[in-house]
Symmetry: C2
Subunit: 383 residues, 2 copies
């Protein structure tokens, strides 16, 4: 907790002070609690109305505090991208954790079995018979490990590649005394970010038709999966409408980054979720008319997406450009006259998952007042 203590030591005295957001050291990851709560409530209502189970993805936020709020709003449990994330959430007493990537190495399998002994409702995916054999050998029949078959949506990242392989793997799981067949997972990652709604709908319809075929093949083999898990923020409205998934792994809806802000999420115009996550930065150098330098660079934003949009504090039309690890340029006519060193600018988050992973904590605000500091509990837990 050194890092959290560091942020608490630095900023803890500002909690509850009106307007204290302006006094924070920068760059700082700011979370608008009103918007976060509204997003969590809106998704919970939508899933409940459709009768689907929510298991939001913690890879987005990596936060015990946010997971607790999702569970309090009705989520069944949380998804985790890696075993290390699940260990961090389990340490915060979050249960029904589902690890969405295979766990394959001997040291990791030993950790997984140990976690299964202390975290009720744990599950993991597999996509290879060798891995299922290793899991079966490591787990104990008196504390069986729940394993889902991961189905490749065609991107060849993880997952079995066809119905025959899915049935064979499900059978191998079901027949192992130390394992329990939990269901199937199909995560259509590529489809989530198709910006046009109709195009996205057509793509996910095709994926869902293929999934139906897999489910039929499993049912015919006597292996009808109890849970069909998948989906994401980009496709959840369509997934709920189609009704094939009975559990949704939505993640980014809590924050709404630049990537999702560019997608029309529902059939209706307007966005059902608001932006809750942003980065406050400051001008650190202003010696030129058309640009100033901010104190935020590659270590403040992940660079796998476009550079962040500018939300507040800068002249209209100002754009951000990276200037290395620690700096970015804010470019606009006259910005060097408009902004002096020390002035604060608010930037969007281009892609939330890897950007959050750069920070030790969320600085939680209501309006312009710091109201709490939450650790990014699973930061760096990629193992």
């Amino acid at each position: 907790m050194s890092a959290l203590s560091d942020d608490r030591r630095l900023h803890g005295h500002l909690i509850g002070q009106q307007g204290s957001r302006r006094a924070l050291n920068t760059p700082v990851l700011v979370l608008d609690l009103d918007v976060l709560e509204a997003n969590i409530a809106a998704m919970a209502r939508k899933a409940a109305a459709a009768g689907a189970r929510l298991r939001p993805h913690a890879k987005t936020h990596k936060s015990v505090d946010i997971a607790r709020r999702q569970v309090a709003a009705g989520a069944f449990g949380l998804c985790c991208a890696k075993l290390g994330e699940a260990e961090a959430l389990a340490a915060g007493d979050i249960g029904n954790l589902h690890v969405t990537s295979p766990v394959v190495s001997p040291p990791a399998i030993a950790r997984l079995v140990a976690l299964n002994g202390r975290s009720p409702g744990l599950s993991v995916v597999a996509d290879h018979p060798d891995n299922v054999a290793a899991l079966a050998a490591a787990a104990q029949p008196d504390a069986p490990l729940t394993v889902y078959v991961d189905i490749d949506p065609g991107i060849r990242r993880t997952g079995v590649a066809g119905d025959e392989a899915a049935v064979a793997l499900a059978r191998q799981i079901a027949e192992a005394p130390s394992l329990r067949f939990g269901g199937v997972q199909k995560y259509c990652g590529r489809e989530q970010h198709i910006e046009d709604y109709a195009e996205r709908r057509a793509a996910i319809l095709a994926q869902t038709e293929a999934l139906k075929g897999t489910l039929t093949a499993l049912a015919q083999a006597g292996l009808a999966p109890p849970v069909v898990t998948g989906g994401g923020t980009g496709t959840h409205e369509i997934d709920l409408e189609l009704g094939v998934f009975n559990e949704l792994q939505v993640g980014s809806y809590v924050f709404m980054d630049d990537q999702y802000a560019a997608c029309q999420l529902g059939a209706a115009p307007g966005q059902p979720y608001g932006r809750s996550l942003m980065v406050d930065a400051r001008v650190v150098s202003a010696n030129h008319g058309p640009l100033v330098t901010l104190d935020a660079g590659f270590k403040a934003f992940s660079t796998d997406a476009d550079p962040p949009q500018v939300l507040a504090g800068a002249p209209d039309g100002a754009r951000f450009a990276f200037m290395g690890d620690e700096h970015g340029a804010l470019i606009a006519p006259g910005v060097g006259e408009a902004l002096r060193p020390g002035e604060m600018v608010t930037l969007a988050v281009p892609h939330c998952d890897p950007t959050v992973n750069l920070y030790e904590s969320y600085h939680v605000v209501r309006g312009d007042t710091l109201v709490d500091i939450w650790p990014v509990s699973a930061r760096g837990r990629s193992r």
Copy 2:
């Protein structure tokens, strides 16, 4: 220290066990201690022979343990990109810290002045008269703060833009009772990575000619700078040959990432430094002939440079491609037959500074044996 404790809890029992590198959970940041020590010694010898002072840049490694080894080999102190890095190194009793970016906001200036009271030899750069005025107002005449004039090498990131501004700022610093004029800094970041040696030499010659003009202007104003600091791994041989800088801020030579491996560093053929830093990852899915999936993605490597080169464990010619936050593809004919889930692959580090920033610790090896676990002391300290 929760994160370090986590890695120590996970892997501490492996320290000293022969071959234990193969038993580490992945992805893991691996540091070859033999190569690191050779790199530190080689740079120390080179600077000593040229009579220049070394103040290596901690933005590369963010590590108290590596900083201690640099100081033990003769370094005067360490450079830090941000105040937060300097605070982390000062907590490890590293002295003569120089902050290479302006510190401008009121909360940060208060921290800087506090650090100046407990960290002997601290200095900071400035590039704006408002900032110098704020530093002068915050510092105390009985504990003066050492301030360098930062000179813009033409990239407009930080630094004063001309000789006149440099002289005016140096005078303002020298005349403030609570400040001390430390010298000038000119960091030619763009020139460091010019891959061709002759081209790089020509570029840095032009920059050095301009710097000589600035130094003459300062001397004529009675403000001859005691220290002229700058340079980097890419230009240090040329900087030492030209003899205008009397202090070098070399950073990446300790690790040699992909970006610097592509640069011929000296006039002589061959590289004077070896690659000490790498990432071990494992195959997590292998259901296809031409590619397997590794457990390392955007959270294991920064993405501001090209994807990492493949160093070991894979068929010749295999290349890495990102597949999201947690995964990467290893692509080569027949790789899916050659590698099974769980097998280990060693990858290079594309750009060391932001990649190191993703990890809590270095897993330090000699050969294939884990010999220590060092915290990335200043990870995330971008404030």
